[in-house]
Symmetry: C2
């Protein structure tokens, strides 16, 4: 069994962090974070599928080809996206500054930016800030780092877990940011994972891809996919365990531990969704295929009418039916079963009446609940997490930049 | 040139209408409408692509095989959707009652329902209401009919136009309802068109499909596709024109007239979008293909972040870039040009600065404007209309049924 720790991103052996106000944000909030390992190690990454990726994404993809990492530099307040060749130069200079001050090769530095699109990165702030930041690297810097990567987030999101794997205690730490533009396929969502496990880069990359698909890629606040989404996992091997094998017990144990960290951070992001008051799990079963199940779950998770009904605690299951019907896969209406938590509201092609609806209304008033949809078409299943659509979502996003 | 008339759906020769409160809605509002022609004629229809269509849709698809229509019966307050075999029986009985009281064959009657999903149609109200309704059919009934098909609409939507075609004055009338669940591929959107033109059913069906694709299928309020969407066009031939040919001048004239009616009703629906304060035309040009252009326009029209920025009059073009980037088609960022009305805000891969943004902010405060996106990738173009996402959209939909 895994054990929860404090210490976040610096909980694994050999990791340090720092966060400062460099002057990228107009306010006095922290806006520049650094995470570094004492020694280099394999790094894995998954990035946005947006076809207009931000400059840091392009640079990280290059660096990931070598597969060795040692430092993660992240700024908030500016996305360095749609900034052309100048933006790429700025990302390169940021990496250069960190590599110089830490005395490590440039390809071991990974860079991320989050914030407003289309504004040049204020390089004077970074040139001044990076020396300060590297000087502040310390074991207790995880809190400042988690704070410094926030944009519209209402709170920092961190976790650390550990478990005995391959003969040694292995620790995974993580931090994330994100509350708007949250969507499958990576939304303005940044997540950084550190571990002291001994693991091969290819195995780490494959595991990260799998786990990200089951966690970060299954949350949706508003159906938007950002230009900057990034998940990076850096492993420095300082736990001294027998290397994680490509399969078997230790592999499964490590995958579960990684899943625990990613699931926690994904739920934290979802819970902190812009204006959200409720966290909903949508569970689709008995679809004709996994792909169909995912499409049904996705359509429900992004339906404005379903999400406003959740906000209003209105057991208006007709909106669920209508959304299922536009998902683009065949359905047999008479086979659909819909339940809120354990309470079935639709069965045999009809609603089960006002008394049941009153019960469901009470469930819908809770801060979190599950909507289960069984389709009677096959064995495909999918789970997706979403939030309600509220006045505050509109408020936050009608005035984000002012 | 076409001429606008009053008279709506009963403006063409030989059409009558009526609307009453039959008791389907809980309030005293009108909820049952009838449109009838003195003589039968060819009828064309396009219906929702939702895979769980409402009972009336299934029945209309059957009747459309004969292609002859004479009466349209429409209720609001209840969608007769997801009501199983009982729902189909209710739709059949409704048709039967109309056919009996008008003394016409059943297959000439087309039935529509709009309102809450999953509740059985209150047949006693229809049994009592239909005899009253048929007795009230009259030339001036178009206003009541347009009123009786409304749900969350804030106003009735009607139009009538006429023009000399094929040697005679031809008139087309129309009425529509819809303000939520508005989306390409037909949303809870009902539109009825009447004309006294002489036209073959196959030509009418083809024209209606083409024109609906350019109008009703290009509007989006919230990305939802309803179970009940319907557009029907009934032509009784009483204008006595030379029959509309499959191509040529008279064909083009009639298509333009039909387009004028459908475009007007589509804009009315969009303008009356739930909570909407602004009507936006999104115009995509220079895409690699028509399909790509349509996908880009659609992605922008349904983006919550773009729609909230429009509500807040925030010239945050980064959200447009991010939305384009997740549309799933290749892009060259350095070629994208974005303009609000005539004012270019993005060009050569970068924003044109704060002064331009201030000008665009002023444009965005207007009740309607155009966002033009040129992609520099080819010759594909598409136009889509959408609204802003507002507090009131959330308010209306968080409490629709209460």
């Amino acid at each position: 069994m895994s054990k929860r720790l404090t210490g976040g991103i610096t909980a694994p052996k050999g990791f340090l962090a720092a966060g400062i106000h460099a002057g990228i944000k107009r306010t006095e909030q922290l806006d520049l974070a650094l995470v570094a390992s004492e020694i280099p190690g394999p790094i894995a990454g998954v990035f946005t599928k947006n076809t207009i990726p931000a400059a840091p994404i392009m640079l990280n993809r290059q660096h990931l080809k070598k597969g060795i990492g040692q430092a993660l530099i992240i700024n908030s307040g500016n996305a360095n996206a749609f900034t052309g060749t100048e933006g790429l130069e700025h990302a390169r200079e940021t990496v250069h500054l960190v590599s110089e001050h830490l005395a490590i090769p440039k390809h071991r530095v990974f860079v991320s930016s989050t914030g407003v699109i289309g504004v040049p990165l204020p390089m004077p702030a970074l040139r001044k800030g990076i020396p300060v930041l590297t000087a502040q690297l310390r074991k207790t810097g995880h809190r400042d780092a988690a704070q410094a990567i926030m944009t519209t987030d209402t709170r920092p999101k961190t976790i650390a877990v550990q478990q005995r794997i391959g003969g040694k205690v292995v620790t995974i730490g993580g931090m994330a940011k994100g509350s708007g533009m949250i969507h499958p396929d990576m939304a303005t969502m940044l997540a950084y994972l550190t571990t002291d496990a001994v693991i091969d880069q290819k195995i780490l990359q494959k595991l990260l891809r799998t786990v990200a698909d089951q966690t970060f890629n299954c949350i949706s606040v508003d159906g938007e996919t950002s230009t900057n989404d990034t998940v990076l996992c850096l492993a420095n091997g300082m736990a001294g365990n027998r290397t994680i094998p490509p399969a078997g017990v230790a592999h499964t144990q490590f995958q579960k531990l990684l899943h625990e960290v990613c699931h926690y951070l994904a739920m934290e992001i979802c819970h902190d969704g812009e204006g959200a008051t409720k966290l909903i799990e949508i569970h689709v079963t008995e679809a004709a295929s996994h792909k169909a199940a995912r499409q049904f779950a996705y359509t429900l998770a992004t339906s404005p009418l379903v999400k406003t009904a959740i906000f209003g605690a209105d057991p208006n299951w007709g909106r669920i039916i209508a959304a299922l019907g536009r998902a683009g896969y065949p359905l047999r209406p008479d086979r659909i079963v819909i339940a809120f938590n354990q309470t079935t509201i639709v069965k045999d092609g009809r609603g089960l009446g006002p008394r049941i609806e009153q019960q469901v209304q009470k469930i819908m008033q809770r801060p979190s609940f599950t909507i289960s949809i069984a389709l009677g078409m096959g064995k495909g299943t999918a789970t997706q997490w979403t939030t309600d659509l509220t006045y505050d979502y509109v408020k936050i996003n009608a005035s984000y930049r002012s």
